[in-house]
């Protein structure tokens, strides 16, 4: 089969995307497919037109590749592609939209407010910041609404730390999310098709838990897969992850990140196109389920070529 692997692009996560893409290409070759690697740029449509693939493997992360932009284009061109559709991607990428959808579905997610930059620049939203303390309390986590990895995610322990955290988050997006900090175990549930894979837990080895960068650094975080959970916990976590996946309209695959607090699991965010590098969580979870990387890639392709269920 002729498979175009879309990777790179201009997003801030270009580096990870190139690594995901290279690994996928390699697996596809070993599976005997004809691979058309494309570092996505202004010539994307021309290249897809010149050599129409039977399916496109989207190995892009961040803005452009994970937010529905490329997916919309592929839908227009009539090229089947891996992972969630354009609308689901857009919902997952935008944490505010995702939280809205999840809350509408009655699923637990930490309390939050969302702000646009315009609200501060033109409508004096700064005067509403006091409400954060009353409603959400501290500590808070400030995140760009559309952003990947830990980029721009800041912790605010008091009201005085909020403006600086907002400036950082607004560096990545015009919309930011201010969310209650929920303490607990950090879990990720990858879903393949409609099947949840074994739960992965990120365990910080050193430093403090407010150091969001640490989670993405090899050597500072250890990943346990499958996570040590009671049957009860595992059921609750998996159920919420699956419900989230459906509420967001995901198909193909996605990774749902949760916090398991004393009161149970809370949804943090959904990743429409989780990393596929050799240190990424989805491949680890697949392996724990007995799927090699090749088998994972093959399964993802199959799902892309299945006629839409909905």
């Amino acid at each position: 089969m002729k498979v175009a692997v879309l990777k790179g692009g201009r997003s801030l996560e270009r580096g990870v995307s190139l690594r995901s893409g290279a690994r996928v290409e390699d697996a596809l070759e070993r599976l005997g497919h004809e691979v058309l690697p494309i570092d996505v740029g202004p010539d994307l449509v021309k290249r897809l037109g010149a050599e129409p693939p039977e399916v496109a493997f989207v190995a892009m992360h961040g803005v452009g590749g994970e937010d529905g932009t490329v997916q919309e284009l592929l839908e227009i061109l009539g090229i089947p592609f891996t992972g969630p559709g354009a609308a689901a991607c857009a919902r997952c990428m935008d944490k505010v939209q995702a939280k809205d959808a999840v809350e509408d579905a009655g699923l637990p997610t930490p309390g939050w407010f969302a702000f646009n930059q315009t609200a501060f620049r033109e409508f004096g939203a700064a005067d509403a910041l006091g409400r954060l303390e009353e409603t959400l309390g501290f500590p808070l986590v400030v995140k760009p609404s559309r952003g990947g990895s830990s980029l721009g995610v800041k912790f605010a322990g008091s009201a005085a730390e909020v403006p600086q955290a907002l400036v950082s988050a607004f560096s990545y997006d015009d919309r930011v999310l201010v969310e209650s900090f929920v303490d607990g175990r950090e879990l990720a549930v990858s879903i393949l098709g409609d099947e949840p894979l074994p739960v992965v837990e990120a365990i910080l080895l050193e430093g403090d838990r407010y150091d969001f960068e640490a989670r993405y650094e090899i050597g500072r975080t250890r990943f346990a897969c499958p996570a040590e959970l009671s049957a009860e916990e595992e059921r609750a976590v998996t159920e919420i992850a699956l419900s989230t996946y459906r509420a967001l309209g995901c198909t193909g695959f996605a990774r749902i990140d949760l916090i398991l607090g004393p009161q149970g699991p809370w949804l943090l965010e959904a990743n429409a196109i989780p990393g596929l590098t050799d240190t990424s969580l989805l491949p680890q979870a697949a392996e724990a389920a007995g799927l090699s990387f090749e088998q994972l890639v093959e399964r993802i392709l199959e799902l892309a070529l299945q006629p839409a269920a909905a």
């Binding site: 201009r10 801030l12 996560e13 270009r14 580096g15 990870v16 290279a22 690994r23 290409e25 390699d26 697996a27 070759e29 070993r30 050599e51 930059q117 501060f120 620049r121 700064a126 005067d127 910041l129 990895s149 830990s150 980029l151 721009g152 909020v162 403006p163 600086q164 907002l166 400036v167 950082s168 988050a169 607004f170 560096s171 990545y172 960068e213 993405y216 650094e217 090899i218 050597g219 500072r220 050799d278 240190t279 491949p283 680890q284 392996e287 090699s292 990387f293 090749e294």
Partner: protein
């Protein structure tokens, strides 16, 4: 697609067939401290062609005359092809050492050629010194900020890095003295003090003569080694030349590191180290284990190049070009950076260090700057403990004057947006930020131009 021949290579199949976990048990402990980070991923984007990168540390090799390069390579081919293609001595050729002695002589140093080893770039010289001196957990003292490229090397030998703040006169040797006393009480002896005393990377500052004398005295009194890294000493655009630490000390307690990278070419990968004989003996063994010898071909190139007797004139040309670029950058900073920003005005080298108000995180700012197609190095890269997050390193040697102006303008624009936003968020208009208010966790430099 045209007919595809048999693939000539297979990409990474050896790693991608298995997950990291399968190898994890085999990794040396030191790989745990070799970190990759989101910031490093951001830096990967600076390579996009449309990005004006003030992030590099590149000399402008387009200034080297191609005819001269061609003539030298031709001479090597005609006169010494077989030798230039052969292995060479681990210490380097005597003729290369003669060139090194000449370069060091230009800064007033007179090393014994037997104390010199030719290395594969200055970076290998740092690596070999670490390999020779550091056991896991050993204390190594660096400047704060320090050369970002030294950090991964020190980390890979599991050094316990302690940083001593710099000010506009370089490393604060008074602070170093106190630190040494504290360490002595703890019964810990630092293995060496790493310093870039002239036109420091990244801060652009130069250690004062008084501090140089004091540092050398301290080293002697405590029998400590100072590793003097001096890649830029000959690239001086103003002010009076300073004697290198090596010259002041005479080479007993100073290990000197030099390189041809900034005065000729980084592509030839030729650097050197000068060390007292017992240390040199170990360094040579380390070098032998690492790569047997430095490229003979590029050593021949340097030999031919120096035989032309024009190397100093080429440096004079570079100094002219870089001085203009530095002036252009300083001028652009005055025009485009906010009143609260401070920056160094270096008398030489390749870098300016700028510090912004403490509510601006330069790693986040980089994300915004990249959308405006401009890049710099966030200050955090020069610290091991997360400090430096309000500062940035700007390079002025690798891009032309128009690009410097445009690059600084673009950075200034994204900073102005952050400043305005912060003002809106706090209900204050821009806070006037005199130098006392500069971020407490970074270099407290005077504002350039206002310096007394």
């Amino acid at each position: 697609m045209a007919e595809v021949p048999e693939p000539t290579h297979r990409r990474r199949s050896h790693t991608s067939t298995r997950d990291l976990e399968r190898y994890a048990g085999l990794f040396a402990e030191r790989t745990g401290v070799m970190r990759s980070s989101a910031m490093r991923d951001l830096m990967a984007i600076t390579a996009r062609p449309e990005v004006i990168s003030l992030a590099g540390g590149l000399p402008d090799t387009s200034t080297f005359p191609p005819q001269s390069f061609a003539a030298q390579m031709t001479r090597i081919a005609q006169k010494s092809a077989a030798k230039a293609l052969q292995y060479g001595p681990t210490e380097g050729f005597e003729e290369t050492k003669d060139c090194i002695v000449e370069v060091m002589g230009a800064e007033g140093m007179l090393p014994d050629p037997d104390d010199v080893i030719v290395t594969t770039g200055g970076q290998q010289a740092i690596d070999l010194v670490c390999k020779t001196l550091i056991d896991p957990g050993d204390v190594v003292i660096c400047e704060a900020p320090t050369y970002p490229g030294a950090i991964p090397t020190l980390c890979s030998y599991q050094a316990d890095i302690v940083q001593v703040e710099c000010d506009e006169d370089g490393m604060q040797v008074e602070v170093l003295e106190k630190l040494l006393a504290e360490l002595r009480e703890e019964g810990r002896r630092p293995k060496f003090i790493y310093s870039v005393p002239s036109f420091q990377n990244p801060a652009g500052v130069t250690m004062s003569l008084e501090r140089r004398h004091r540092l050398v005295e301290l080293a002697r009194a405590n029998e400590l080694l100072v590793v003097e890294d001096n890649p830029y000493g000959l690239l001086r655009y103003g002010g009076e030349p300073m004697p290198p630490l090596y010259q002041l000390d005479g080479g007993d307690f100073v290990i000197y590191l030099g390189t041809f990278s900034k005065i000729l070419s980084p592509g030839i990968r030729l650097g050197w180290a000068v060390a007292p004989p017992p240390v040199m003996e170990k360094i040579v063994l380390g070098k032998q284990a690492a790569d047997l010898c430095t490229s003979t071909l590029t050593q021949y190139f340097v030999r031919e190049y120096f035989a032309e007797r024009r190397w100093q004139r080429y440096i004079d040309d570079l100094v002219e070009i870089y001085r203009r670029r530095r002036d252009t950058m300083v001028e652009a900073l005055r025009t485009h950076f906010p009143a609260e920003a401070t920056w160094t005005e270096p008398e030489g080298g390749l870098f300016i260090w700028a510090t912004l108000p403490d509510y601006i995180d330069t790693s986040d700012l980089l994300a915004k700057a990249l959308r405006a197609d401009v890049a710099f190095v966030p200050g955090q890269a020069a610290y091991i403990d997360g400090r430096g997050s309000h500062s940035m390193r700007l390079n002025f040697s690798g891009v032309d004057e128009d690009e410097i102006r445009e690059g600084v303008r673009r950075i200034g624009k994204v900073i102005a947006e952050q400043v305005e936003l912060y003002g809106t968020l706090t209900g204050e208009q821009r806070t006037p930020a005199p130098e006392e208010q500069s971020a407490p966790n970074v270099l407290p430099f005077r504002k350039a131009g206002e310096a007394g």
